[in-house]
Symmetry: C2
Subunit: 301 residues, 2 copies
C-alpha cells in the first residue's frame, strides 16, 4: 500500500479515536516527561508462532499485539503512555486488510488510554509480524523487579491458569493494568512479573533473579475453567501452557494480610506459595507435605 | 536458541562493551529522565527488502538496523540514549548466527554511545526481521519538524546523493549525529529530516508538511561518486535512489550565511534550493532558469 494513503487513513483513524494524529508527520515522537521516569518494553508477535491467521480473527490478533506489551507495563507497575508500532505486512495483503489491522491496534490502544507515538510499515515475503514498543510512566513507588523477592515472602497470582492458547484466551485477555495500579498504590510489592511462559518457568525466573527458592502449593494453583474437561495433566497444563498474562508477585507476610483483606476486584487472587532461602529452585509441595523440585518447563517462544 | 543461553551471551556482550547488562533481567527498561524530554522512533528492516543476506554481510546488516534509527534521531536533533531491539530470526539459523547478529547490533549501539534498553527474540518461518525502537534526549532548542520550513528559507543537504543501495553504502553509512548536534547547538534550524526515500520524495514531504513550495537547483544537487560511471540519468538517480541517510534541512537566509561560514565538518554541505510561497509543490530549476514541477518519485519501501 502507498505510504501516503496509509498515513492518511491512519490519521483519520487516530482522530476518530480521539488521538493526536500530528505524530504521523515526522519520523520521531516527542514525549514530554515533566518529572516522571519512563518505562519501556518491546514485544513482537508473528503469524504461526504467536497466533494463526488461518483461524484467528485479525481484530483479536491486533488486540494481542498491543496487550502483550501492556501486560509487561502492568508487571512493571507502570501506567501506559504510548506505543510505537512497526509492521511487516505480507505482500499478498489488500489495503483493506492492512487498515483492519491498524484499526484493531489503534482501538485497543485507545481502550487502554494509550497513544500511538509512531510507527513504520513494511511489506514482507514472510508472515505478518507486529513489533510494538510500549512506553509508560513509572509509578512513584518505583518498579517491582524480578530480583526483589525475599525469603519469607508469600507468592500470589491473579486469575486462573492454563489452556489459554487452545481456548483463544491468549487473544482476548485483558492486561492486568487496573490490578497493577491498585497494587502499586496500596501494597508494598516486592517482585512482580506477568506470566507469559507459564507459572513453572516464570516462577523459576523470580527464583533465579532473587536468589531464593520458591515453594508452590500444588493444591492452591488456580486452574482455569478452560481446562475443566481434560481428565489428566490439568496441573501441568496450568503451570506450563503459558500465555496466561496474569500477574505473579511476592509480598511480605504482613502485607499479604492487608492485601487479602483489601483486594477490591472480581479478578481472582490466590496465594500459591512462599519464598525460602535457597538455591534458585522451584519446588512443588502436595497435600501430604511431600516436596519435590518442579522440573516441568514452560512454553518457549 | 534457548532464551536463557541467549540472554547470558547477550549479557556478556553488553558487559564487554561497557554497557549495563542488568536491563536483561526484567521485561521493561527504566529510563531516568531528570528534566529532559524523550524522542522516540521505530524502524524495521527485513531481509530481501532492506538488505539481502545472500550477499550482504551480517555485521553490516546489524549496523544498518541500528543506524536507520539513529539517523531518525539525528533528523530530530536528538542525542541517542538507548535501543529496544525485537528480532524475528529464521528457524534455520544457528546459535552462532544469532550471536553474530546481536554482536553487530550491540557494537554499533556502543559506537554511537547508545545503550541496549530491552529486547525480544523470536523465531520465524519468514525472513530475518529486525525491529528497533530508538529513544533519545530532546535538544534544549526543541525538535526541527518537517512542518517548520518557511517561505524564504534556503534548503541544505549534507553529503552526496544516489547509488547508495547498489554500492552497499546503505549498509555502511554513518548517521549524521555529530552534524545534527552541531546544527542544533549553533544554528536556528527550521525544518529537518533524514533522506531515506530520496531527495525528490523527501523534499515533497517538507513541502506538504510546511505548506510551501520548494525550488531545487538542478546544477547544485551533490551527486555521489558511487554514480560517477553511469552515463545517463545521474540526476534522477541522485534524487530518487533513496537510502542516502543525509540531513535535509532549511534555515533562514541570514542563518545560511552564518552556517556556511562556520560549518566545521569535512562532510559536504550544499545549498540545493529555496522555499517559496506555494502549494506544496517541488520544482526543479535548470541553468537557463527553466522551472518545471519535479514529478520523479522516490523509492517506496
Amino acid at each position: 500500500m502507498n505510504e501516503i494513503i496509509f498515513l492518511q487513513s491512519l490519521g483519520n483513524l487516530l482522530t476518530k479515536n480521539g488521538m493526536d494524529a500530528s505524530v504521523l508527520s515526522d519520523d520521531c515522537a516527542h514525549i514530554e516527561t515533566p518529572s516522571r521516569d519512563i518505562i519501556a518494553t518491546t514485544d513482537m508477535v508473528i503469524d504461526r508462532t504467536h497466533f494463526d491467521l488461518s483461524h484467528d480473527p485479525l481484530d483479536l490478533v491486533a488486540r494481542k499485539s498491543v496487550c502483550v506489551n501492556l501486560s509487561d507495563l502492568a508487571a512493571a507497575g507502570a501506567k501506559p503512555m504510548g506505543l510505537l508500532v512497526a509492521l511487516a505486512i505480507p505482500r499478498s495483503w489488500s489495503q483493506r486488510q492492512s487498515q483492519d489491522l491498524m484499526t484493531g491496534i489503534v482501538e485497543t490502544a485507545s481502550l487502554f488510554d494509550c497513544a500511538i507515538l509512531g510507527g513504520d510499515t513494511n511489506s514482507t515475503k514472510g508472515p505478518l509480524t507486529i513489533s510494538i514498543t510500549a512506553l509508560g510512566f513509572k509509578h512513584w513507588r518505583g518498579t517491582p523487579k524480578r530480583g526483589h523477592a525475599s525469603h519469607g515472602d508469600l507468592v500470589f497470582v491473579t486469575g486462573e491458569l492454563g489452556g489459554s492458547f487452545e481456548s483463544q484466551r491468549h487473544l482476548r485477555f485483558t492486561p492486568r493494568l487496573r490490578e497493577s495500579t491498585w497494587l502499586m498504590d496500596h501494597i508494598n510489592i516486592h517482585a512482580m512479573m506477568d506470566l507469559s511462559d507459564g507459572l513453572a518457568s516464570d516462577a523459576k525466573k523470580i527464583a533465579i533473579a532473587s536468589k531464593i527458592s520458591i515453594i508452590l502449593d500444588k493444591s492452591a494453583t488456580p486452574i482455569h475453567r478452560d481446562l475443566d474437561f481434560r481428565s489428566t495433566h490439568r496441573l501441568e497444563h496450568a503451570m506450563c501452557d503459558g500465555e496466561d498474562f496474569e500477574l505473579l508477585f511476592t509480598v511480605s507476610e504482613d502485607e499479604a494480610i492487608r492485601l487479602e483483606a483489601a483486594w477490591p476486584f472480581q479478578t481472582k487472587l490466590t496465594q500459591i506459595g512462599r519464598c525460602e532461602r535457597g538455591n534458585s529452585t522451584v519446588f512443588l509441595v502436595d497435600e501430604s507435605n511431600h516436596k519435590a523440585e518442579l522440573t516441568w518447563t514452560g512454553y518457549e517462544h
